[in-house]
C-alpha cells in the first residue's frame, strides 16, 4: 500500500505531470466562468492517447488544483471562480479591500492543503471497507443509489427539482441511445449507423460545460476592474492552533457532503460557512467583514469534499458530483471500471490516485504561495483572448476522441443546448449524470426485476425487505418528500416555532 502511495512521489515523470496538472487546474479554476469540470473534461479528451496512470494522475491534479484555484478570483475580484467558491467572496473580498489579499490567499492555500489531506485520510480509511461492503450490494441497491444521485444533484443544485429531473431524464434518454447491452436491441437510433454506438458523452460534456459557458460569457465582454494590494502572505502561526477545531468540524462536513451522490463543494462550502457563523463566538472580525474563519471554513470543506466525493466514485462507481462523473468517464475510456471491482482487481491504482492527490496538495502550496502576483494578472486576461482559446480547446478536444468531425458537431449542438438551459435556469449537471448513469440504471433495474421473476410488485416489495435497500429507499422517498410544498411549509412552521421558543 505505502509503496503504491509513494509512486507519484518517486516517479519524476508523474510528479512533473502532477505539477503541471495542478498549475493548469489553478489557472483554470481562478478564471471566472471556467469550471473545474470543464478543465477536467478538456483533459479527458486530450489525454485520450496517454497511458492510464499518467492520464488519471494528471486529471486528479487538475481536479485538486482547479477546486483550490476557484477561491482566488473570489478573494481578488469578488467573482467566484467556480460555484464552490461562492462562500469565499463573503470574507475573502472584504480582506482584499483592506489590503490583506495576501493573507487571504495564504489562509486559503494552507487550509486547502489541510482540508484536502483530511479528505484523503477519510478516503484512504473508508474506501477499502466500503469497497468490500459494496460487493454485497444487489442490482436494486445500485439502481437506488444512482437514482438517489440524480435526485440529489437536482435537489441540491441550482434551479427547481422538476427542472433537474427533466434535464436528467433527457440525459438518461440520450445515454440509452444505441444498442442495449443486455439484449442487443437498438433504441432511438433511427437506423443511423453512427448512433448505434451511442452518444459520445465526452463531446456532450465539452459542449455542456465548455462551449455553453463561453456563450454565457459573451453576454458581457467588459474588462475586470481590479486594483489589488497583495500585502503579506502568511497568517500568524497562532491561528493554526486557534482554527484547528473549526478545521476538523468543517472537514467532516465536507467529507460527508462529498460522499452524498450528487452533492459537491458548492453545497459543503455554504454549509461550512453557515456552521462557522453559528459556532465561532469570537471571530477575528465580524463575518462578512473579513473574518479569517469565514475563509477557513469553506476552504477546508471544499477541499475535503474532493476526498469524500471520490469515495462513492471509486468504491461504487457512482459520481459524487459533476467532476467525478467526468473522472468516471475518463477511467472507463482507459479501460477501467470504477466500482467494487476496481478496488479488488487494481487496488494499486486506488493508492496511486490517493498518492497523486497528496502530491497535488504539495504543489498547491508551491504554486499557491509562490506566484501570487502572476495569478492576480492571469485573472485580468481579457475575455476576447480567452474565449476563442477555450472554444479552440473544446473543438480540438471533441475532435480528438475519435478523430471525427462528427463529434465536434455533437459538441457544438450540446454547447447550444447547454447555453439555452443556462439561460432558462435549468441545471446542466443532471444531464451529464443522466447520460453516464442512464444505461447502468436501466441494466440494474431490469436485472433487479428479473431477479424478482419479472414482477414489478415483487421488485417494489424487495425495496422494503432488504436492509440496505430499505435504507436507500427511505433516503429516496425523503429526498422526494423534501421537495414538496407541504414539507417545505411544515418545516418552515416548525423552524419558526422552534426559534420563538429558544428566543
Amino acid at each position: 500500500m505505502l509503496d503504491q502511495i509513494l509512486v507519484p512521489f518517486t516517479d519524476l515523470h508523474l510528479m512533473f505531470l502532477i505539477a503541471m496538472g495542478t498549475l493548469f487546474g489553478v489557472v483554470k479554476g481562478l478564471l471566472p466562468g471556467l469550471s473545474v469540470t470543464m478543465a477536467v473534461t478538456l483533459l479527458v479528451s486530450l489525454t485520450y492517447t496517454w497511458d492510464t496512470i499518467p492520464a488519471i494522475v494528471t486529471m486528479i491534479a487538475v481536479y485538486y488544483g482547479g477546486v483550490y484555484g476557484g477561491a482566488r478570483s473570489s478573494i481578488l475580484i469578488n467573482v467566484p471562480g467556480s460555484a464552490s467558491s461562492l462562500a469565499h467572496t463573503f470574507d475573502g473580498y472584504p480582506l482584499t479591500k483592506r489590503g490583506e489579499a495576501g493573507v487571504a490567499i495564504g489562509i486559503t492555500t494552507i487550509y486547502a492543503v489541510i482540508g484536502g489531506a483530511i479528505g484523503l485520510l477519510f478516503l484512504g480509511l473508508a474506501a477499502p471497507y466500503l469497497g468490500e461492503l459494496a460487493l454485497g450490494f444487489g442490482a436494486r441497491d445500485y439502481f437506488l443509489i444512482m437514482f438517489l444521485g440524480l435526485l440529489l444533484v437536482g435537489g441540491l443544485s441550482e434551479g427547481s427539482m422538476a427542472k433537474a429531473i427533466f434535464v436528467a431524464g433527457v440525459g438518461v434518454t440520450l445515454g440509452i441511445v444505441g444498442m442495449d447491452s443486455l439484449t442487443g436491441v437498438e433504441r432511438f437510433t433511427f437506423g443511423n449507423l453512427e448512433l448505434k454506438s451511442g452518444v459520445n458523452y465526452i463531446a456532450c460534456m465539452l459542449g455542456l460545460f465548455g462551449l455553453s459557458e463561453v456563450f454565457v460569457q459573451l453576454h458581457n465582454m467588459g474588462k475586470i476592474k481590479a486594483d489589488v494590494i497583495i500585502g503579506k502572505v502568511l497568517p500568524p502561526l497562532i491561528y493554526l492552533i486557534k482554527f484547528m477545531p473549526l478545521t476538523i468540524r468543517t472537514a467532516i462536513i465536507g467529507v460527508v457532503v462529498g460522499i452524498l451522490p450528487g452533492a459537491g463543494g458548492e453545497i459543503s462550502s455554504l454549509i461550512a460557512y453557515d456552521h462557522a457563523k453559528k459556532t465561532v463566538k469570537n471571530p477575528t472580525r465580524p463575518f462578512g467583514k473579513g473574518a479569517y474563519e469565514g475563509l477557513v471554513a469553506p476552504e477546508v470543506a471544499v477541499m475535503s469534499t474532493n476526498g469524500g466525493s471520490m469515495i462513492p466514485m471509486l468504491t461504487l462507481g457512482i459520481p459524487g458530483d459533476a467532476v467525478t462523473a467526468v473522472l468516471i468517464g475518463a477511467m472507463t475510456i482507459h479501460g477501467l471500471k470504477p466500482g467494487p471491482m476496481l478496488m479488488l482487481e487494481t487496488p494499486e491504482l486506488f493508492w496511486i490516485i490517493l498518492g497523486s492527490a497528496l502530491v497535488s496538495l504539495i504543489f498547491i502550496i508551491v504554486w499557491g504561495l509562490s506566484a501570487i502576483s502572476f495569478f492576480a494578472r492571469v485573472i485580468l486576461i481579457p475575455k476576447y483572448i480567452l474565449m476563442p482559446i477555450i472554444v479552440f480547446f473544446t473543438v480540438i478536444g471533441s475532435y480528438g476522441i475519435n478523430n471525427s468531425v462528427h463529434d465536434v458537431y455533437w459538441m457544438i449542438a450540446f454547447g447550444v443546448i447547454g447555453y439555452l438551459l443556462k439561460l432558462y435556469s435549468f441545471p446542466t449537471g443532471p444531464m451529464v449524470l443522466g447520460i453516464i448513469l442512464g444505461p447502468q440504471m436501466d441494466v440494474y433495474l431490469r436485472r433487479a426485476i428479473i431477479t424478482e421473476e419479472g414482477s414489478i410488485l415483487g421488485f417494489l416489495t424487495s425495496l422494503f425487505v432488504h436492509p440496505i435497500s430499505l435504507i436507500l429507499t427511505i433516503f429516496v422517498l425523503f429526498t422526494l418528500l423534501a421537495q414538496t410544498d407541504t414539507y417545505k411549509k411544515m418545516s418552515k412552521q416548525l423552524f419558526q416555532k422552534f426559534s420563538k421558543k429558544s428566543a
Binding site: 496517454w50 475580484i77 469578488n78 467573482v79 463573503f90 472584504p94 427547481s160 429531473i165 427533466f166 431524464g169 433527457v170 434518454t173 440509452i176 442495449d180 443486455l182 439484449t183 436491441v185 437498438e186 433504441r187 432511438f188 456563450f215 459573451l218 458581457n220 465582454m221 467588459g222 475586470i224 476592474k225 481590479a226 455554504l270 460557512y273 453557515d274 457563523k277 463575518f287 462578512g288 467583514k289 481579457p382 475575455k383 476576447y384 476563442p388 482559446i389 472554444v391 479552440f392 473543438v395 475532435y399 480528438g400 478523430n403 468531425v405 458537431y409 457544438i412 454547447g415 447550444v416 443556462k422 439561460l423 432558462y424 435556469s425 436501466d442 431490469r446 419479472g454 414489478i456 421488485f459
Partner: protein, 168 residues
C-alpha cells in the same frame, strides 16, 4: 413570458416524443418490465410529469436568469454586509448586439468545424482565433493578429508532440 410558454410546451412535446419512441422500439413491449422499452418509457413518463410541473410554475425569462448569474448571492444572515462594487465593467451593448455577437461567434465555430477536413489545421486555427478575437475585441487588430499566430503555431506543436494528436 411568451417564451416561457413556448419552452413549457416544448418540454411536454419532448417528453411525449420519448414515450412515443419507446412504444416504437421494434419487437418490444413497454409493459414488459424486463424489456428494453420499459425503462425509456418510464423515463418519458417521469419527464412528462416534470414538464407539467415546470409548466404549472412557469419558466423564468432569460433576462432574469442572467441578472441572477452575475452577482454573488449573500447567504442568510450575511445581508448586512456592505454592498460590493461591480468588478466587471458593464459593456455598452444592446440585447440585439449580444444576439448578433452570439450568432456570429456560433457561426465561426461551426465554420471552423466544417472546414477542418478541408484546410491545413494550423492555418485554419489561425483564421479562427484571429476572426474570433477580432469579433470580440472589434479594434485590437495587431494584437489579435500576433496572438493568433503565436497560439495557432504553439498549440499545433503542443497537440502533435505532447498529446499525440493526428489532425485532418
Amino acid at each position: 413570458m411568451v417564451a416561457g410558454k413556448y419552452i413549457s410546451t416544448l418540454l411536454i412535446v419532448i417528453s411525449l416524443a420519448v414515450v412515443a419512441m419507446s412504444f416504437n422500439i421494434e419487437g418490444q413491449s413497454v409493459f414488459d418490465p424486463t424489456s428494453p422499452a420499459f425503462f425509456p418509457a418510464l423515463v418519458g413518463v417521469v419527464m412528462l410529469i416534470s414538464a407539467l410541473m415546470i409548466a404549472r410554475r412557469g419558466v423564468h425569462s432569460p433576462s432574469s436568469a442572467q441578472v441572477e448569474d452575475k452577482a454573488p448571492k449573500p447567504i442568510a444572515g450575511n445581508e448586512e454586509a456592505e454592498p460590493e462594487k461591480e468588478m466587471y465593467e458593464i459593456e455598452n451593448i444592446t440585447q440585439k448586439g449580444i444576439n448578433i455577437r452570439l450568432l456570429l461567434f456560433t457561426g465561426l465555430v461551426v465554420l471552423f468545424a466544417v472546414l477542418m477536413n478541408y484546410f491545413n489545421f494550423m492555418v485554419l486555427s489561425f483564421f479562427f482565433l484571429f476572426g474570433a478575437m477580432l469579433l470580440l475585441s472589434r479594434e485590437k487588430i495587431v494584437r489579435s493578429l500576433i496572438l493568433s499566430v503565436i497560439f495557432s503555431v504553439g498549440f499545433y506543436y503542443i497537440f502533435v508532440y505532447v498529446f499525440h494528436f493526428v489532425f485532418p
